[in-house]
């Protein structure tokens, strides 16, 4: 009797423990986010000694209203500016990558491996490496403090990886389909538009979500390019609200939540493409 009866609960106990540990870790991981969220929804006086003290508990939206319409740097403006920068900064390099990537995938040219090498090394370049000349260049052509300047900058930094990313994707498509279309008399362009582009939509989704988030989350380029407060993007507003000596945690946590809402929301909706884009070629080669 001892054997099977004792074995069964033993296995179950182990499974239960693994699940408890995993879920415990998962929830514990959220504590910093939870703390900021709780503070954002409560008056500062209630949480000054710790957001986990739940009495008194008077939830309010006042902090969000304060951050949204702030006089120093309203998040309503910051988020609008972030969108004005991030949307074109995503689609310009995507367009370039969609076409150039196809060229790189289907046509051979000498020194191809060196192009890969330089893209890899380019990815390792810190933003600080271009900051001073970019600042001077933009100042001299009147694009400092202009969204256009920042959009061009982000586009230029997005193009190398997106071209390569799209090229890798196109290479996974069977060339026979395109050849068949050409045999049937379709022009080069028609083949690309009608056959290749529709098949590449998942790759476009991955590029969009990765590049959009990269631009939205960027702080350094925005900081050096957009110096006047009325041009501030969301990530800049977060630091503008930080205060000189003490931090206004009520406003700041509301601003933090508002700023992370867009990338996190996008991640939740396009998670599949984000993860696939990130991992895809990392592991499968």
């Amino acid at each position: 009797m001892a054997g099977p009866v004792l074995r069964l609960p033993h296995i179950r106990l182990r499974t239960v423990l693994v699940h408890l540990a995993a879920w415990g870790i998962g929830v514990a991981w959220l504590i910093p986010f939870l703390g900021v969220a709780v503070v954002a929804f409560r008056p500062l006086g209630e949480v000054a000694l710790g957001w986990w003290n739940l009495s008194p508990f008077n939830p309010t939206l006042a902090n969000f209203a304060g951050a949204w319409g702030n006089s120093d740097c309203p998040l309503s403006m910051g988020i609008r500016n972030s969108l004005l920068v991030a949307v074109p900064s995503t689609f310009i390099p995507l367009m370039v990558g969609a076409f150039a990537g196809y060229g790189f995938a289907r046509y051979r040219f000498p020194g191809r491996d060196y192009v890969f090498l330089s893209v890899v090394l380019l990815m390792a370049v810190p933003q600080q490496m271009v900051a001073v000349p970019i600042f001077k260049l933009m100042l001299s052509v009147g694009l400092l403090n202009q969204f256009l300047g920042l959009i061009l900058l982000h586009s230029a930094w997005g193009i190398p990886w997106i071209v390569l990313f799209m090229r890798n994707f196109y290479r996974t498509l069977p060339v026979e389909i395109e050849e068949a279309a050409r045999v049937d008399g379709a022009s080069e362009f028609k083949t690309f538009y009608r056959i290749v582009l529709p098949m590449a939509l998942p790759a476009f989704a991955a590029v969009v979500v990765l590049q959009f988030m990269w631009v939205w989350n960027d702080f350094f380029f925005a900081k050096i390019m957009l110096q006047s407060t009325d041009r501030a993007v969301a990530t800049l507003c977060v630091t503008q609200l930080s205060g000189q000596f003490t931090r206004p945690w009520d406003l700041l946590s509301a601003a933090a939540i508002l700023t992370l809402l867009v990338p996190v929301g996008l991640y939740i909706v396009l998670q599949r493409y984000y993860i696939r884009g990130m991992i895809g070629w990392t592991i499968k080669g």
């Binding site: 693994v18 540990a21 870790i25 998962g26 929830v27 991981w29 910093p32 986010f33 949480v47 000054a48 000694l49 710790g50 986990w52 150039a100 491996d113 890969f116 893209v119 090394l121 990815m123 390792a124 370049v125 810190p126 600080q128 490496m129 271009v130 900051a131 001073v132 000349p133 600042f135 260049l137 061009l152 586009s155 230029a156 930094w157 193009i159 990886w161 390569l164 890798n168 990765l210 990269w214 989350n217 702080f219 350094f220 050096i224 969301a234 977060v238 630091t239 946590s253 992370l260 990338p263 996190v264 991640y267 984000y274 993860i275 990130m278 991992i279 990392t282 592991i283 499968k284 080669g285």
Partner: protein, 302 residues
């Protein structure tokens, strides 16, 4: 063609200009003078840090980040990925852990500052409640707690990367390997050390490289949690922040010293990227595949 001009103007030209700037002072050529001045500056390497504690200087701090953050985030991600293999709802737990990767790093910085500040934050109160009053202090206000608090906090935010990549790596290992090993009576530990870990080696290599680049480029988190000075006494200062101060805070700006710091950073990151490139080339992966794999993942890792 317009794309090539954009790249030339906004990527290659500024990189070249910064390299040139780093060898000049004003309009006169000084060779490695700027580099020498920076390395002798206590803000970069603080000789009193060894005995007196932080600030250690930016160079040491970036190194500390590598020494502590790299193994911790790698190991935690691996353990979580293995643990989550057999857990129901693992994808939800992974999303929780990955949240730190999609949140803007400047917000992560603010969040970490909030979490380690007393009395508002959770971390000091937690250590107070488990009977460690020496850690129940305002971590932001003390150099040692600030530096190590931010290092550990950045492990929290970055672990999502290694967890996700390791999880994906685990799915590429054929299940038969594990089953065959179990049939042969191998212990779980043996299976891990003889099958899982060796087969994950290429994945580990990619994670290590991405993590190193991330630790070297560290900027937003420090600024978000403290200020442009790297917090109390400059305890959490890093190279990228030092460069920013020279170029955009100092009056008059010290562009040449800023360029030299940036070039030092570039030297380190290029060494790291080049190292991985060579390892992948000499490894089992064919040449173009390795390059491609590397390029796509480098961007995603940022």
């Amino acid at each position: 063609m317009p794309a090539a001009i954009l790249l030339l103007l906004l990527v290659f030209y500024p990189i070249a200009t910064t390299i040139i700037l780093s060898f000049f002072s004003g309009s006169s050529f000084v060779g490695l003078g700027n580099y020498g001045a920076i390395l002798q500056d206590p803000a970069t390497l603080n000789p009193n840090g060894l005995s007196g504690g932080p600030p250690y200087g930016t160079l040491v701090n970036n190194l500390l980040w590598i020494v502590i953050h790299l193994p911790l985030s790698l190991f935690t991600g691996l353990v979580l990925a293995v643990l989550l293999q057999r857990v129901r709802g693992a994808s939800i737990i992974k999303s929780f852990i990955f949240l730190g990767m999609v949140t803007p790093l400047i917000v992560i910085g603010v969040l970490l500052g909030f979490t380690i500040e007393a009395p508002v934050g959770f971390v000091p109160a937690f250590f107070g409640s488990i009977g460690l009053p020496s850690l129940d202090v305002n971590w932001i206000a003390h150099p040692t707690t600030l530096l190590f608090g931010l290092i550990l906090g950045s492990v929290w935010s970055w672990t999502g990367f290694s967890t996700i990549i390791y999880s994906a790596g685990l799915t590429t290992i054929p299940k038969d390997y594990f089953e065959a090993a179990r049939v042969d009576g191998a212990s779980e530990w043996h299976i891990f050390t003889r099958i899982t870990w060796p087969l994950l080696r290429p994945v580990t290599l990619v994670i290590v490289t991405m993590s190193l680049l991330w630790e070297l480029k560290l900027f937003d988190i420090i600024l978000g949690a403290t200020n442009a000075g790297g917090g109390v006494g400059g305890a959490a200062d890093v190279l990228a922040l030092q460069m920013y101060r020279y170029a955009f805070v100092a009056l008059p700006p010290e562009s040449n010293k800023a360029a030299a710091v940036a070039c030092m950073l570039l030297l380190f990151t290029t060494l790291v990227a080049g190292f991985l490139f060579r390892r992948l080339l000499t490894g089992d992966a064919p040449k173009p595949r390795a390059a491609r794999r590397l390029a796509t993942s480098t961007r995603a890792g940022e």
